[in-house]
Symmetry: C2
Subunit: 168 residues, 2 copies
């Protein structure tokens, strides 16, 4: 009944435009925001599939200085026609994010169509993501509009592919 007992299937053709994201990526990033002190982090991103028309996405970060857990997020990538992509993500801060955008080559540009929070979550209005894969490197930038701020840079990181085509 565990994932290991099921054969790894081929990638579903619908998500082939995002195949370049598959794998485990590790690296370092930097965070900033007008309301907080800047910080540096290590990160692991995993993108995997089970042969169905979506990719599973999970991310975690740790403080670069002391290894304490920082952020995490988890969700799924979807593909539509004509390079259209969608991202659905849950955040432990009590937010859920719907993103829509496009993939061109090995670059993805996304803007949130909705960010919704639980009653106890801080107010986040919008997120924008840019992800670029160049060979074995994945670089991303995340802008955020939260707690009264405009959509301004929040995170940027560079990760290396630590393992290839990852099946869920």
């Amino acid at each position: 009944m565990s994932a290991d007992r099921h054969e790894a299937p081929p990638l579903h053709p619908v998500v082939a435009p995002l195949a370049f994201l598959l794998g485990t990526w590790v690296g370092e990033g930097q965070g900033e925001y007008p309301t907080i002190e800047s910080f540096a982090y290590t990160e692991q991103i995993t993108v995997s599939h089970v042969g169905k028309p979506f990719l599973a996405y999970a991310q975690r970060t740790w403080g670069l200085d002391d290894g304490r857990p920082l952020h995490a997020e988890t969700g799924y990538w979807r593909c539509g026609p004509d390079g259209h992509v969608e991202l659905v993500v849950a955040h432990p801060s009590g937010h859920v994010e719907l993103g829509a955008g496009t993939v061109s080559g090995t670059s993805v540009t996304l803007a949130s169509t909705s960010v919704t929070g639980t009653p106890s979550a801080k107010y986040v209005r919008a997120l924008a993501r840019q992800v670029d894969v160049d060979g074995e490197h994945l670089r991303y930038r995340l802008d955020m509009a939260a707690v009264g701020q405009a959509l301004v840079p929040h995170l940027r990181a560079t990760l290396l592919r630590a393992s290839a085509d990852r099946r869920g």
Copy 2:
């Protein structure tokens, strides 16, 4: 930079009311809905923590007959004061779900406060979840209001605890 390199911390006291959910659970369930044929599935649920004030949640199901991947979902549990609990979940169907409810003993009752979908997702209006842990058994029921239907039973399953206190 992987999770394995970081020590397993103690559970954050804020999420202690949900500690009974921690672990890996495996079992079987049944699905029904007015618009589809009934189906049976095997399931694995993992609830883990990293010492922060949330629990990480991931679930996958496979067809009981042929082992093909069916549903998956992933997100986080949060706790507020006075037995209040929150759930944020991403679904590969293109939905994100915010749930709010209460925990009493080892039972959780949740109703969605919002279910939002990407442009390509089918319409889901509401979800309601009941989770009960009794010793080594976890039983849940999920009701769904989707594609023009009222909030009616969709899933019910019984799982056994396959491993205890799981750290992320």
